[in-house]
Symmetry: C2
Subunit: 335 residues, 2 copies
């Protein structure tokens, strides 16, 4: 039996009762992770709370425009200076405690009687905290944060509006994924009505890529792999390509959506050779019957049915062959 969620009223009481609140999210944070942290942080700051936001990794270039992101601290740096005392520690958009390093958890010293809260939208969430709120129907953790702030009646400063829009937009592929609901669009409408500059935030999110990313796309398309009668497409990003392009964190964000856009494609895959020689695999499916979450689980990874990832041992060509074999076996069962 799935344990029940803590109620919004319980969470609101815990947060309102705290003086100092820590907020964390998963490593390699994306728009939903950072947007959710910044929105909740800005709203809590507006009611007088002291808020510390910490992440394993620095804010990627493409999300540096999010208001308040300059105050997000890197876990290793915090730990070096001594853990931050907090009354409540909130984890956002992290499906398990292991989505953060031990260093990130060690960045906080929870007060005696202090509690940990876990708010997330991943169905695989392990409910690792004292109070858990998991809504797998919500297309983004940012949508839950909006609803929490609205239920609490806390202010939603301009920066929080931008952060929530970014969180929801990036986790729904710009409001396109099947996970987007009427409520998702209504939240965006209310943010715009409250003054959000929708053109500007979208320019920052989707029209502010470095030139090197477009040139990388060009290079990846040169060696586009088409398998299974066009139902599977894959690209491989080697260290050599990444170094030649001067690639930085976040540059590959969205690349997979470009190759997924072909009509015949059911599964799209990006293989990325990491600095440590491991191969990071990002996969997207267009059909619930081709469950990339299950495929990635075979290799120790996970995620959602239509979007999942894993890490594999290198070299990249061997990893790709193994992963593609697993994909084609599953596709054989489909018409």
């Amino acid at each position: 039996m799935t344990p029940a969620n803590a109620s919004f009223q319980t969470l609101i009481g815990l947060l309102e009762g705290a003086a100092t609140i820590g907020i964390v999210s998963h490593r390699r944070p994306d728009g939903d992770a950072l947007g959710s942290c910044l929105a909740l942080g800005a709203s809590l700051a507006a009611i007088g709370k002291t808020v510390h936001i910490v992440n394993d990794d620095p804010v990627p270039d493409g999300l540096g425009f999010l208001p308040g992101s300059e105050a997000i601290r890197v876990a290793a740096t915090v730990v070096a200076g001594g853990a931050l005392p907090v009354d409540v520690l909130v984890s956002l958009d992290a499906a398990g405690a292991d989505r953060l390093s031990e260093t990130a958890w060690a960045a906080f010293a929870l007060a005696e009687g202090g509690v940990r809260i876990n708010i997330d939208h991943h169905i695989s969430n392990t409910r690792f905290a004292d109070y858990n709120y998991v809504d797998a129907i919500s297309p983004a953790t940012g949508q839950i944060i909006y609803e929490l702030i609205e239920a609490a009646g806390w202010p939603l400063p301009e920066g929080a509006r931008v952060a929530l829009y970014a969180a929801i937009s990036t986790d729904t592929g710009s409001f396109r994924y099947p996970s987007a609901t009427g409520q998702t669009y209504r939240i965006a409408a209310s943010l715009i009505d409250a003054g959000l500059d929708v053109g500007e935030v979208n320019r920052q999110l989707y029209e502010s890529y470095p030139l090197r990313r477009l040139l990388l796309l060009r290079d990846l398309l040169q060696d586009l792999e088409i398998h299974a009668d066009g139902r599977v497409v894959a690209v491989k990003l080697t260290r050599r390509m990444a170094e030649a392009a001067g690639l930085q964190a976040g540059d590959t964000e969205g690349i997979i959506d470009v190759i997924r856009s072909v009509d015949s494609v059911i599964v799209a895959i990006l293989f990325e050779e990491m600095e440590d020689g491991k191969i990071r695999v990002s996969s997207r499916s267009k059909s619930p019957r081709a469950d990339v979450g299950a495929i990635c689980a075979v290799f120790g990874g996970g995620g959602h049915t239509l979007a999942a990832g894993t890490r594999m041992a290198g070299p990249i060509d061997a990893a790709a062959t193994r992963f593609l074999h697993e994909v084609s076996q599953r596709l054989d069962g489909l018409d």
Copy 2:
């Protein structure tokens, strides 16, 4: 002085008073043009009207999924069989009567006392009809059609919901452009609440490109031109490339958005060599201070401040040089 718009009540009265209604839009119809025609057509059919939708060009492959699109007739074919008698003729999303060929107008025989209605969201609309409704604030003609249908209390069949979502989404770059308002998002929310399968329609709109389009993107990026310190990017699509790729109408839709996505870019341009040797220019700007509508007007074209087009005499390299010269002159005035 700008003449006043006809009221919705007037338009509703005219349409409800007609037995047979013709609906047209501009040649080379896009998502907003066809989506608006199909939505209004489906809604009017649901109240018992006979509706004929005609266009100069066939429905492009990528929009063939729109319910009812198979009933849209090509003007030349209609004319060959004799003009269709109608009581009211409605033009949607066409800024001027010349956005349709004379053949398209000749596809209809307007009854004695019959009227022409013009509904559009282009600020440059010439108000060419007997009754005109131009709302340049609306990000899509589809948004006006939604509001008209809602004001009339006409039914909105499932096909009309898909058509309206497609119209609005495609004309706002998936709800990203500055023109999108809270109302735009609320309309999408209401369509979803009424049963629209948002994942499916977006899959059809944005994940169903033919493979040849991805390969075309690859080829265009090979020769990406970067001008004015990265503020201007341009690609040239020659007849030879188009023929080698087996390109069809609509294949280049959205290509310009890919090259516009670079942070340094203010103006992005696609030059396309047409079968008749003319060069079709599509341009997008990220800044109202770089008004591509004004730049295209220099060459006899037009459009919006941030999205405009024109046709020029070939050859393609000479046309590109002339157009880029005009762009760089305007950019020199910006910091």
